[in-house]
């Protein structure tokens, strides 16, 4: 079996199943713990609280103006990375094709040049984020192996994707295999490390928004 056949075949089966099992396990393990009922009278009715939760998902994307001087640069760099990745993932023709072949939905792709530039910016931002993490005193102290493993596991798909798109260094089949394998590594790691924030960010913001709306407190 070639490396590519392995990547598209058994490895994809295993990675997807591990991703699904892991995500559902972790989420249900959290949400099924013993719940504490809040008995105090809420300031706002249920509908307002639900809306508060939903709105908080959106509003927490941008820090409050008062915090901008201290966190603005770091947040901006992180968004450059995330938005760049979003452009590549959802604007790049081969990724739209994957989604179409899986789910039957598609949309127009962005011009290849735009995606290439976005991928380069994404890579640069990712590297700068690592530099920041190892030099900033707070981040250096907080960081665990999870942070660095997660960085490598995100770096590899971006880097192999760029090589594949440029069809450089190795044959197309090899590059494609490496790109798919690196994504499978990401899928396998995702439920267990900080990459799970792709789901937890929604759950956490909603929960805080709901709880604070209950108190009429600022979200």
């Amino acid at each position: 079996m070639t490396l590519l056949a392995f990547a598209r075949g058994p490895a994809m089966q295993v990675a997807t199943l591990v991703l699904i099992v892991g995500m559902f396990w972790r989420l249900s393990g959290i949400l099924l713990l013993r719940r504490r009922v809040a008995h105090a009278a809420a300031r706002n009715p249920f509908a307002v609280r639900l809306l508060g939760g939903a709105v908080t998902i959106v509003t927490r994307t941008i820090p409050r103006r008062t915090f901008w001087p201290r966190v603005g640069a770091g947040v901006a760099l992180s968004y450059v990375f995330h938005i760049g990745l979003f452009i590549v993932l959802f604007g790049g023709a081969p990724h739209i094709l994957v989604i179409y072949e899986l789910f039957g939905v598609s949309w127009p792709d962005l011009p290849k040049g735009v995606v290439v530039v976005a991928s380069g910016i994404t890579l640069a931002a990712l590297i700068l984020l690592l530099v920041r993490r190892v030099t900033h005193p707070v981040l250096k102290m907080l960081s665990t192996p999870d942070d660095y493993i997660s960085w490598v596991i995100v770096f590899l798909p971006v880097a192999t994707g760029i090589l594949l798109s440029g069809e450089t260094i190795a044959g197309y089949g090899t590059l494609l295999a490496l790109h798919i394998l690196s994504i499978e590594a990401l899928m396998i790691w995702l439920p267990f490390g900080k990459l799970m924030h792709v789901t937890l960010v929604f759950a956490g913001r909603f929960m805080l928004g709901h709880n604070f709306s209950r108190k009429g407190a600022a979200t």
Binding site: L17, W25, S28, I30, L32
Partner: protein, 352 residues
């Protein structure tokens, strides 16, 4: 039948091709074989002096498509004449003899050309259940191969079946089909894959062998680098559309009619090594992509079993289906619930 005394130069002269024609042919051949043009003169000389090359052709578990392709060359090109020049001393489909007369022919051909003949194989070699799934005169392919291969100068595995197992090897491979290289490991083998292979590729290999007395340079899959060193993608005339992101989304849509890239319709060009995009088929008439269908990857091993089939693009894989995914989700919830309920037992009933 043994190789005659007439050399190739004399035979060609008889048919009306002089030294000049042979030299022109040699130049074309060196280009096709990606050899330096300086070798053309040497090739022409060697060809002129070449004696008839004995070829013994064994057909195993095949559909006869490879043989048909090779015979269907239209015009009497020199390539075609070279086929005439080889002494095809044994070939079951073509020869007049059959039955025990055929077996005698084979034994005599092997004996007379021991150590010098080229053994051409088409079709896969079934090895399951003692090789019973493909027999000739009661003898299994695998035993014939093991008996005759030691006396060959080299083996040409013609077509993807002979090279890598081909369609019989597709899941679940009930006959235990394998390529020749999985049975014979101590003889030089040239794989000439393709389903079928391009005729000019075979003639190019023969010309090289007859000219220089050895096999051309091969890649790690034993394919002649001259023809299999690049992918369809590297030579495809639709490559600019790929680079511009212009893809046909379905057969006969606007993009398809404009001749746009067929990547999204499952074309395996980027991972398929062959000369289809440059040499093309039927003496350079066309090739699948030019006719509007994506490359199937037929010169690569296991192309019948590739993930998702012919119409799933290289970007897509299959992965587990919805049912398996649903089961996985249920397993995840069960595991998480078990962990949560084990944890619950650690927290007191009433919390302030």
């Amino acid at each position: 039948m043994t190789a005659g005394d007439e050399n190739l130069g004399e035979m060609l002269a008889r048919r009306g091709f002089g030294r000049r024609g042979l030299l022109k042919f040699a130049f074309a051949m060196t280009a096709s074989l990606a050899l330096p043009p300086a070798l053309a003169a040497a090739m022409a000389e060697n060809l002129a002096a070449a004696k008839r090359q004995s070829v013994i052709w064994l057909s195993f578990q095949e559909c006869t498509g490879c043989l048909e392709t090779l015979l269907r060359t239209d015009s009497p090109t020199i390539a075609g004449l070279i086929f005439d020049f080889i002494s095809l001393d044994y070939q079951e489909a073509l020869m007049a003899a059959s039955g025990s007369a055929a077996e005698l022919t084979l034994r005599q051909a092997v004996a007379a050309n021991k150590g010098k003949f080229l053994l051409a194989i088409d079709g896969s070699v079934p090895v399951a259940d003692g090789g019973v799934y493909s027999l000739t005169g009661g003898k299994s392919n695998v035993s014939m191969l093991e008996e005759i291969a030691p006396d060959a100068a080299a083996i040409l595995a013609i077509g993807t079946c002979a090279a890598y197992g081909g369609i019989p090897k597709a899941y679940p491979n009930p006959t235990g089909a394998v390529g020749v290289e999985d049975v014979i490991t101590d003889k030089p083998i040239v794989n000439i894959p393709g389903c079928p292979p391009i005729p000019e590729v075979l003639s190019g290999v023969l010309v090289y062998f007859v000219s220089f007395g050895r096999l051309p340079d091969l890649d790690e899959r034993k394919r002649p680098l001259a023809y299999f060193g690049t992918t369809i993608h590297d030579q495809c005339y639709r490559r600019p559309y790929y680079d511009q992101g212009k893809f046909a989304k379905s057969f006969d849509d606007e993009g398809a009619r404009q001749g746009w890239c067929l990547f999204e319709l499952g074309c395996k060009g980027p991972t398929t090594h062959n000369a289809c995009a440059s040499l093309k088929w039927n003496d350079g008439t066309s090739f699948p992509i030019e006719s509007g269908h994506g490359c199937l990857g037929c010169s690569e091993p296991d192309f019948w079993d590739q993930e998702g089939g012919f119409y799933t693009s290289l970007a897509g894989g299959a992965g587990p289906g919805w049912r398996e995914s649903g089961i996985a989700a249920a397993v995840g919830i069960a595991g998480g619930a078990a962990a949560a309920f084990a944890a619950r037992r650690k927290t007191p009933e009433a919390q302030e």
